[in-house]
Symmetry: C3
Subunit: 349 residues, 3 copies
């Protein structure tokens, strides 16, 4: 599908500045914009990309005053985000090609499934489970007894949700996500073997949460493991029992959070980062990829780095010296030699 | 469900010390005990938690002599572990709500499946496979040809077991675990491409092993990849071909063990730790999270840390200086200045 | 199955040197060879293993001139790799025990499926999808609309491929692999919440690619995430949107590559290594396990190590000093003392 800048402007009720005939085949991130794509600028923090993006069309607020030349055709709108959402409906058809409950799906009689849902083949909805309006459950999904799923969720193939877990509205769970597996809880016995501690809690995923493929969220020992509204989790992430992830916190792939740790809201967690259990991470914490966080972060908006993690700049400064350690070592040896000579010459005097 | 301390004591044949009427709604770990829960103290190593736990009831040995005030109601029993097991049966109903072989499961004629099993919808039991008494296989599980599964195992939805692998008794495999995928074995060819080396061995998982969601255990090139009795593996772990994991070793999430490495018994491996291939790790080794182990550990009960790993205390000492490196670097510069002055003043004399 | 060296030589048209009656029950890697196995030597780089291997038979080029005693029986052949392939067909029967489209599989009418395929129970082939000759799709696999799968591929149970992704010929995807899940793309909104950026591209996996169990490859935001011919990916790997992995590059388990990064060809990436987004890695780069690569590598065949990564030898040299830092710190303190004394004695003079 190709669409002209003018057609988009008409669709959004926006005003064009620049070439109205330029053709667009899809959206792009402003920093990754390519010719033939439309990007948007909503957060002033990203304004500098407006001057370098290769996107052909840029959706901006009607109040936007460029501080440098912009090569893209501009479309000015009242509400950039609302316009983006409208555009996505044009370009990003995420709807599956099936509707209703497939004849090869299995839904228990006691499950409460809204009339407007899609449930694919070989998927199972357990006893007393609930599925809200507009939710799409792809094939080969397993929803155990008593699970509650809100409205307008998408569960991709192979998602497995254990007994009694809950999802809010507008959640997206990618393929093979596991929600509610047992936490890793064992009591050591005197003979060195382990006694399993039953994991009797559940997982609560609030609304507007997206969870990447093959990510695992364990159920709480008691109470709930909680992923708060708007949090975004990438692929292959480990969330242990009794963890809490705050609102609008984003966690990159392969990060892991050990038991009972509470991550604040609006945090940005890099890939492969790891958190020990039983710590608290303040709101707005930024964690560099591969960092290892072994104690609580109390001050909001702290940036940290390293394993174990230090303040971001401290780590960088220490690492700069680390790179230079062989030379430093030589300098120390040279100093020792110098002092030996100095002492020798002092004695000689 | 709520139950009084007295009712629990009666159930276990134990003696109460403290308030018999306090109500309990579930169990807890002693170090995470909350009001309304029952914890237990079996291993003397954890005794200090008895004096700080918030659990309302504490299950202890009849011989337990407190060394400080205990706020919880005590229930004294002959065998703490046996009592815990009895309690779990009260609180932790892990039984699925299905029995027998579901009509939508598929079991090959040549498979030997015990009469007392549960096999869920859309699960497959391959040719000549064996499933022991009391084993529960959730829906959407795949058991390939010749796989042997012992008694009283639980396989959660989406588990996939390749041809010829073996599980002992009392194993728990969480959702989407993969057992027996090909090891990562390729011979480089002169043109830079790779020739696949066939992976002809299998995986043997002994009894009482628990394996977390989305963990992968590769089959051996030849012979067997072996997970010994009582080992506990968390989620998203990688076990490569021909690895051995010793008895009662616990491995936290996202750790990875490269090919042919042998981990001893009673080891504790932290999350995201990584082991190179072809090394041996002594019994009782403790590996800190995110450590990278690139050589064998010969001495038992060693604690290690860092990437590459050092002795635990050595790493901490080195890292303490690492944090201080920018300052150290300045001190060296200052020393160089001082020596320059000393030399200058010596010459001047 | 056991087979004599002589029978193998006859099969391959090779010449025997040594005991023709030694019995072989399977193949092995030359460095892991065991009695009763056959190994091969094709790449001269591995020649030293020929003198230490415990394999009973060694397949070598007709031109091979040993530089030391070889204990194995030799079989000399014209083309070692072709002979290995022939042997694998003897020993490594990878064929599944099912053929054709199972009655419990579901194939959309509009899908183009070659007559010679195997598609297992509870697998789904979506609208307009294509499956090439000789491809084996195990049970419980999901192939979405418009997916193209080449010839002679093997898709193990639980593989999920999202809409519009493509596989070449001779690919192997292990259990629970996910191809084409949404990239992790979100635009931050002023209130701290995120707007999902639609992921409209796909994944292209070229021919002769093997992908390990539970590995995830995200679809591109726009365009394609590309895994080039001959690349080998181990288990639990994360490949983000718009990444490219070059020809014959091998990536070990649990490594992660962030968005838009391009990895060259013939690279060797260690386990748990991580790459930030938007960088380029030159052909032949060797990345040590657990390394963190945060900038482009421009020079081919560079070896790197550490997090953040340095040149391999530089990291080792720095780390050698790191291990010694507590001592270095003491030496600096000693130097400071010495200088204090020197200054004092100078003044005293």
């Amino acid at each position: 599908m190709q669409i002209s800048a003018k057609a988009i402007a008409d669709l959004l009720g926006g005003k064009i500045e620049g070439n109205p005939d330029v053709l667009i085949h899809g959206p792009s991130k402003i920093e990754e914009g390519q010719v033939g794509t439309i990007s948007f600028l909503a957060n002033p923090k990203y304004e500098h990309h407006a001057y370098s993006t290769k996107a052909s069309v840029l959706l901006v607020s009607k109040d936007f005053v460029p501080k440098a030349p912009v090569y893209a055709t501009l479309i000015r709108v009242d509400d950039v985000y609302a316009s983006v959402a409208a555009l996505l409906r044009q370009f990003g058809d995420q709807k599956p090609n099936f509707q209703g409950i497939d004849k090869d799906a299995f839904v228990e009689d006691t499950a409460e499934v809204h009339a407007e849902v899609a449930i694919g083949k070989f998927s199972i909805i357990g006893k007393n489970a609930k599925v809200g309006q507009g939710t799409i459950i792809y094939p080969q999904v397993y929803i155990d007894e008593g699970v509650v799923i809100g409205a307008n969720c998408i569960l991709y193939p192979g998602v497995k949700i254990y007994k009694g877990c809950q999802l809010g509205d507008d959640c997206i769970l990618h393929a093979n996500v596991v929600i509610g597996s047992d936490g890793f809880g064992f009591a050591p016995k005197p003979d060195g073997s382990f006694e399993k501690i039953p994991q009797l809690g559940n997982v609560i995923v609030e609304s507007k949460v997206e969870i990447g493929a093959n990510t695992v969220i364990d159920r709480a020992t008691m109470g709930s493991t909680i992923i708060k509204a708007g949090a975004k989790l990438d692929n292959l992430i480990q969330i242990a029992h009794n963890v809490e992830v705050g609102e609008n916190t984003a966690i990159a792939a392969q990060a892991g959070i050990a038991g009972s740790t509470k991550i604040g809201k609006n945090c940005l967690i890099g890939g492969q980062a790891g958190f020990v259990g039983h710590i608290q991470i303040a709101d707005g914490t930024k964690v560099q990829a591969q960092s290892g966080i072994n104690k609580s972060i109390k001050k909001e908006n702290t940036a940290i780095y390293g394993s174990p993690a230090l303040a971001y700049n401290d780590f960088l400064r220490s690492y700069a010296v680390f790179r230079n350690l062989p030379d430093l070592s030589k300098q120390i040896k040279a100093l020792q030699e110098e002092i030996k000579h100095l002492k020798a010459s002092q004695k000689a005097e």
